[in-house]
C-alpha cells in the first residue's frame, strides 16, 4: 500500500500536514476546539528534535513563533475565537516584519467566549481585518480530512514563498470529525523551503530590499548577517523610518506581494460547475453539506454546482465571478451572518442574484436548510 493510511480527526490531520511540511517549532495555549493540534505536536515534535512550548497565553504563543521563525524554524500556533482575537496584534507584526508562520484557527461560535464546543464560521472577516491597519493576508480552509492535511502543507509553502503569516481557518466540525487520511511518501507533495540570502558574510545584506520578483531572501538569527527587525515602518536595513516615500513603498509592497499572485494563492474546488444554473459557494464544513445537496440535485437532473473555496483571503473574486456570472442564481452556504456572501456580491455582475443560506446556532448547516432555500429561490415553494 502506498503511503501511510490513518483514521484521524481534522486537528490530527493538521498536525500530520504541519510535520510533512517541516514544521519544527510550535507554541500554543490550550483552547477548545483546537487543543488536539497542540497535544499532537507536543507528542510528535520532540521525536525528531522539534520544539514544542506551551506559553503563558495566546499572545505569547504568537510572539514566540515569530521569534522562532527568525532563527530559521518553520513555525505554527493553533487557537480558536478568543485566542485568535488575542493574537491579532502579533499577527500584524508578522505581516509588517514579513515573518513566515502559520496560525490555525479552529472556529467556534462567537463573539466572546461564545459557543466553545460548537461549530461556526464567524471569523472570516476577522481573519482579514482583525489586526489594525491596511494589509493583505492569506487565509485558507478545507472541508475534509485529506484536504486539511494538504492545505496545511500549502499554508507552510505560501508562508515561505511570500514571507507572510498564513491563517488556516478551520472549524469545529472539520477539526473534530474523523475520516481516512492517506499520508503520501515524502516528496510526493512539494514542500517549499525558506529562501535564504546568497549574500556572502562580510557583504552588506539588506533584509528588506525586495528582489525584482518581490521576494526577500532571509538570513537566520544566529547566522553571519546581523540586522534589525521591527514592527515600525522600516527601510531596507530594517531600521525604523517615517519617511513618506518609504512608508508608501513598504505598504505597496506588503499589499502587492499577496494580491498580485491570485493564481498562486487562490485555491478552489469545482464540483459540477460547467453547466450549473444554480451555483452554491461554500467552504469548510458547510461545503460538505453543499456538496451533498449538489449530488442530490444532480440525481434529479437539476443543474446545481458547487464552488468550494479553499482560499478565503485574498478572496478568489475572479474565479467566483467566472462561475457565478454564468449562473441564474448563486447561494452562499456558510455558518455565519453572510461574511463570504458579501464578498461574493462584491465579485459578481448581478449581486441581486446572490442569496444567503446560513445557520448560526452552533449546529452544522444541513441539507434541508439548503434545499429549502433552493426551493424558494427557484420558485418551487417552501
Amino acid at each position: 500500500m502506498e503511503g501511510n493510511i490513518k483514521f484521524v480527526q481534522g486537528n490530527e490531520a493538521c498536525v500530520e500536514g504541519a510535520l510533512y511540511a517541516g514544521c519544527n517549532f510550535f507554541a500554543g495555549y490550550p483552547i477548545t476546539p483546537s487543543t488536539e493540534v497542540a497535544e499532537g505536536l507536543a507528542s510528535r515534535l520532540p521525536k525528531n528534535g522539534g520544539k514544542f512550548i506551551q506559553m503563558e497565553d495566546e499572545i505569547a504563543s504568537m510572539c514566540a513563533i515569530i521569534g522562532a521563525s527568525l532563527t530559521g524554524a518553520k513555525t505554527m500556533t493553533a487557537t480558536s475565537g478568543p485566542g485568535f482575537s488575542l493574537k491579532q496584534e502579533a499577527l500584524g507584526y508578522a505581516i509588517m516584519a514579513e515573518i513566515p508562520c502559520v496560525i490555525v484557527n479552529v472556529q467556534r461560535g462567537g463573539p466572546s467566549t461564545g459557543n466553545p464546543t460548537h461549530v461556526a464560521q464567524g471569523d472570516v472577516m476577522q481573519a482579514k481585518w482583525g489586526t489594525h491597519g491596511d494589509h493583505s493576508i492569506v487565509a485558507m480552509t478545507a472541508s475534509n480530512i485529506q484536504d486539511v492535511f494538504e492545505i496545511t502543507i500549502e499554508a507552510f509553502n505560501i508562508a515561505e514563498t511570500f514571507r507572510t503569516p498564513v491563517i488556516l481557518l478551520f472549524d469545529e466540525i472539520v477539526g473534530h470529525m474523523r475520516e481516512k487520511l492517506v499520508i503520501p511518501e515524502k516528496g510526493k507533495i512539494p514542500v517549499i523551503e525558506r529562501l535564504r540570502t546568497s549574500v556572502p558574510p562580510g557583504t552588506d545584506y539588506h533584509p528588506y530590499f525586495p528582489r525584482k520578483d518581490g521576494r526577500l531572501p532571509m538570513s537566520d538569527f544566529g547566522g553571519e548577517h546581523r540586522y534589525n527587525v521591527t514592527g515600525l515602518f522600516h527601510d531596507m536595513w530594517g531600521f525604523p523610518t517615517d519617511k513618506p516615500e518609504l512608508v508608501h513603498s513598504l505598504m505597496r509592497h506588503l499589499i502587492d506581494k499577496i494580491d498580485t499572485h491570485p493564481k498562486h494563492i487562490c485555491k478552489t474546488k469545482k464540483h459540477f460547475l460547467d453547466d450549473a444554473e444554480t451555483v452554491l459557494v461554500s467552504y469548510g464544513a458547510s461545503a460538505r453539506t453543499a456538496l451533498e445537496v449538489v449530488n442530490y440535485s444532480r440525481a434529479r437532473d437539476r443543474k446545481v454546482g458547487l464552488l468550494e473555496l479553499q482560499t478565503i483571503w485574498p478572496f478568489p473574486k475572479d474565479v467566483v465571478a467566472e462561475y457565478c456570472d454564468k449562473a441564474k442564481r448563486v447561494v452562499v452556504v456558510e455558518m455565519n451572518m453572510g461574511q463570504v456572501m458579501e464578498q461574493v456580491k462584491a465579485s459578481v455582475q448581478c449581486p441581486a442574484n446572490v442569496f444567503l443560506c446560513n445557520r448560526y446556532d452552533g449546529t452544522l448547516i444541513n441539507t434541508d436548510d439548503v434545499k429549502n432555500v433552493l426551493r424558494v429561490i427557484e420558485g418551487r415553494g417552501f
Binding site: 521525536k47 505569547a60 521569534g67 527568525l70 538569527f221 534589525n228 514592527g231 536595513w237 531600521f239
Partner: protein, 269 residues
C-alpha cells in the same frame, strides 16, 4: 574589540533626549559583552516598545524590536529555537512590568536562559510622561496630575517570587556596576533579571520638580547602597544594589533536550 564596534553608527544620532540615562545602560551592556568576548553573531537582542526598546536598533547584533510588553515572548521563541544564542532583552518599566507583566513572571518561572534588563525610569517616556507600575505613590505624572495613588512593584521581589534564578539591581550612577552585573547575568545559566534605575529628566524630572540630570543622578547616589551595608542598617529606606539572587536550577532549553531524548526513543506509532 572597542565597544563602538558593537554599535550601528549608521543609525545615529539616537532618539533619546539630552540627559536620558539609557545611553549609560547601553554602554554598560556593550562593555559587558565586549569584556566577555562574545561574538556579535552569537547575540540576539530583543526589545519591546518604548524609549528603552530603541536600544536594540543601535547595536550590531541580531536585533528584534517587537511589540509593547511582548519582548520576552518573542525572545523565548528565539532562545528556545536556537539555544546557542545569548539573548538579552532590554525593556522599560511600563513595558516589562505593566503590559508585559504576565510574560515577565512566566519567563522567571520558566527559567529560560536569557537576560532581562529593566531600565526603570519610573515613567512612560515615549508617550509623554504617564505613571508606570514602578512610579510609586506620590509621584506626579501626566496621568497623575494630583499625585499617584498606585503602589509600585518591587522588581527584585517580584522576580525572586516568580522564580528567577539571578536577580540584581543597580543604577546608571554606578555605571561600572552595570557592566560587572551584566557580565554575571549573561554568564548565568538561567533566567536573569537586572533592574537598572535610570533617569528621565524630560518627563519624570520635569513633572516632579527635579531640576536637572545631575540632581537625578545624585539621587541614585544618595538613595541607594550595597546589599547588606551598614548604611542600609542605619537607614532602612535606602534602596539596595547588587546581586540578590544567584542560584542554580534546571534551565528550560536543557530540560527540553531531555524531553527530545526521551521522545526520540519512542517509535513513531
Amino acid at each position: 574589540m572597542p565597544v563602538q564596534d558593537y554599535i550601528r553608527k549608521r543609525f545615529f544620532p539616537h532618539i533619546w533626549c539630552g540627559g536620558c540615562g539609557h545611553g549609560i545602560v547601553l554602554q554598560g551592556m556593550l562593555a559587558a559583552i565586549e569584556e566577555l568576548g562574545i561574538n556579535k553573531k552569537d547575540v540576539a537582542m530583543v526589545s519591546g516598545i518604548g524609549c528603552s526598546s530603541r536600544i536594540v536598533g543601535y547595536t550590531d547584533f541580531h536585533t528584534l524590536h517587537t511589540l509593547h510588553g511582548r519582548a520576552l515572548s518573542f525572545a523565548t521563541g528565539v532562545k528556545f529555537s536556537k539555544p546557542s544564542l545569548n539573548v538579552i532583552v532590554p525593556m522599560g518599566d511600563g513595558d516589562a512590568m505593566a503590559i508585559g507583566g504576565n510574560h515577565f513572571i512566566h519567563a522567571c518561572r520558566r527559567n529560560i536562559d536569557m537576560t532581562a534588563v529593566i531600565m526603570n525610569n519610573r515613567i512612560y517616556g515615549m508617550t509623554g510622561g504617564q505613571f508606570s507600575p514602578l512610579s510609586g505613590q506620590g509621584i506626579y505624572a501626566t496621568t497623575a496630575p494630583y499625585s499617584n495613588i498606585d503602589y509600585e512593584f518591587d522588581t527584585v521581589e517580584l522576580a525572586r517570587g516568580a522564580g528567577a534564578t539571578f536577580v540584581a539591581r543597580t543604577t546608571v550612577f554606578h555605571a561600572t556596576e552595570i557592566t560587572s552585573i551584566m557580565k554575571k547575568a549573561i554568564q548565568h545559566k538561567g533566567f536573569s533579571v537586572v533592574e537598572v534605575l535610570t533617569q528621565c529628566p524630560t518627563y519624570f524630572g520635569r513633572k516632579n520638580k527635579i531640576k536637572g540630570t545631575t540632581d537625578m543622578m545624585e539621587w541614585f547616589k544618595t538613595n541607594t547602597t550595597a546589599i547588606g551595608s551598614d548604611a542600609k542598617k542605619a537607614n532602612p529606606s535606602l534602596i539596595e544594589r547588587g546581586i540578590f539572587v544567584q542560584t542554580e536550577k534546571n534551565e528550560y532549553c536543557k530540560a527540553y533536550d531531555k524531553i527530545i531524548e526521551i521522545a526520540s526513543k519512542e517509535k513513531e506509532a
